[in-house]
């Protein structure tokens, strides 16, 4: 057995002793159960600032019978003890009190939660990118998104904040008139490339809305003219802007990703359900055999 193993206190001394002889003395004194404190006083003066618990033991009643106290037990390396249980969502896996069935069901719940979160996130992404007519797009159209770009171009507190007072509406109108690709380019230019896809979409819908309103007004004029001339035939223009055509490659990719996540959930359900069924069947066979 090595000295370090025989003497746990000496092994904890990370401070180098004055020389090897002193180290030997310290080892010898602790081996003898504290019968003599020769050499320890020197060691204690060295380690006292670093290990007060050790110094206390040494500086107390002259021959200290035991240097190790309950207070010092917590300072051990922990080797040979059970490792602390894993905290968090997956702690149940190392819980010995749970049955395998219980662990399986909890596993399923944990994975389902993870997949559910992932699916929700994907759907939110999809809504943000393609959800024309949704509340998010409406709020963006109504100033949130354009306001972000405008705010990036003319930041608050800047010199333009004072001189462009009251021009926000006019600048917003100018921003809308830029159209999808140009709006996306502007978003990239002012350091907001993350807004570029939304700018592209919003710009498209704004352009379509503008085109539609122009067509509608033209159609109304035509209708009025035709009514006046009593021909009876009127041309009907679309009154609402048509939604953006679904089916772009990126949109299809997003849908496929959502589909993949749903299929993954179904597969997991099937897997766990089959596992539990086979375990139940095995148990039933054992019970039948006992009967």
């Amino acid at each position: 057995m090595s000295t370090a193993q025989a003497n746990p206190v000496a092994s904890r001394l990370s401070v180098p002793l004055a020389d090897a002889a002193e180290a030997e003395k310290a080892t010898a004194s602790s081996r003898s159960g504290g019968a003599t404190s020769v050499g320890l006083s020197t060691g204690a003066s060295v380690v006292a600032p670093l290990l007060p618990w050790l110094a206390e033991g040494i500086a107390g009643a002259a021959p200290t019978p035991w240097l190790v106290s309950a207070a010092g037990a917590g300072k051990s390396s922990g080797a040979g003890y059970a490792s602390p249980t894993v905290a968090g969502d997956w702690s149940f896996l190392s819980d010995p009190s749970l049955s395998l069935e219980e662990k399986l069901s909890r596993f399923m719940i944990a994975v389902q939660k993870k997949l559910g979160d992932e699916l929700t996130e994907k759907m939110s992404d999809y809504k943000a990118k393609y959800g024309e007519g949704g509340t998010e797009t409406k709020s963006q159209e109504s100033g949130g998104f354009l306001g972000s770009i405008l705010g990036a171009i003319f930041p608050a507190g800047g010199i333009f904040d004072k001189v462009l007072g009251g021009l926000e509406k006019l600048l917003g109108e100018a921003l809308k008139s830029l159209g999808g690709p140009l709006l996306a380019a502007l978003a990239t230019a002012v350091g907001l490339p993350a807004l570029a896809p939304a700018a592209l979409k919003v710009g498209e819908s704004l352009g379509k809305a503008l085109a539609s309103s122009t067509t509608t007004s033209k159609a109304k004029t035509t209708k009025a003219t035709t009514t006046k001339s009593s021909t009876g035939s009127t041309s009907k223009a679309p009154s609402t802007p048509k939604k953006a055509e679904p089916g772009s490659p990126d949109e299809r990719l997003e849908m496929l990703e959502i589909q993949r996540l749903v299929e993954k959930q179904n597969q997991l359900f099937t897997l766990v359900s089959n596992l539990m069924k086979s375990m139940h069947d095995t148990s039933m066979v054992a019970i039948q055999n006992v009967r």
């Binding site: 990118k129 171009i153 333009f160 462009l164 009251g166 021009l167 100018a174 502007l186 570029a196």
Partner: protein
């Protein structure tokens, strides 16, 4: 190659994806300048819009688009484009001159800061005076036109 949403959000430009070089961009810009000089503002605008969509980080294209929009009578669009140009090239004297011109083009009675805008433009032009280049000459001419 068409940019994907990931490309757009990562800030990759169409020019990068399609191998559109700076020389090609400069050639397109000079074509637009030629058209604008000959008075065909709509064509120049179309060319420059295509250029900024291809490479939104081209400050020169934004500055030229700002000039064209100003001459088309769209001061607010011109201001947006000029600000984009200055944002991309803060130290570029041409971009700053274009922005000062765009500020001056905003009608004085629009909004509350009419006089303040003139002062901002004046300060901006004053900062461009040192030098013997076209920018300095143009800035000096504008300052003289603005008066004391």
């Amino acid at each position: 190659m068409i940019p994907t949403i990931d490309d757009l959000t990562a800030g990759r430009t169409l020019a990068e994806l399609q191998g559109f070089t700076a020389e090609m961009g400069a050639a397109v810009a000079s074509l637009a300048a030629q058209q604008a000089g000959s008075g065909d503002l709509e064509l120049a605008r179309g060319i420059l819009e295509g250029l900024v969509v291809t490479n939104p980080r081209d400050a020169l294209a934004w500055a030229m688009l700002s000039q064209v929009e100003r001459r088309r009578g769209e001061p607010f669009t011109a201001l947006l484009c000029a600000e984009a140009a200055v944002r991309l090239a803060p130290g570029d004297r041409q971009a700053r001159l274009v922005r000062a011109e765009a500020i001056l083009a905003v009608p004085a009675d629009a909004g509350a800061g009419g006089e303040g805008r003139r002062e901002v433009a004046r300060a901006e032009l004053g900062g461009l005076l040192p030098g013997e280049d076209d920018v300095a000459r143009r800035a000096g001419a504008l300052l003289r036109a603005l008066g004391p």
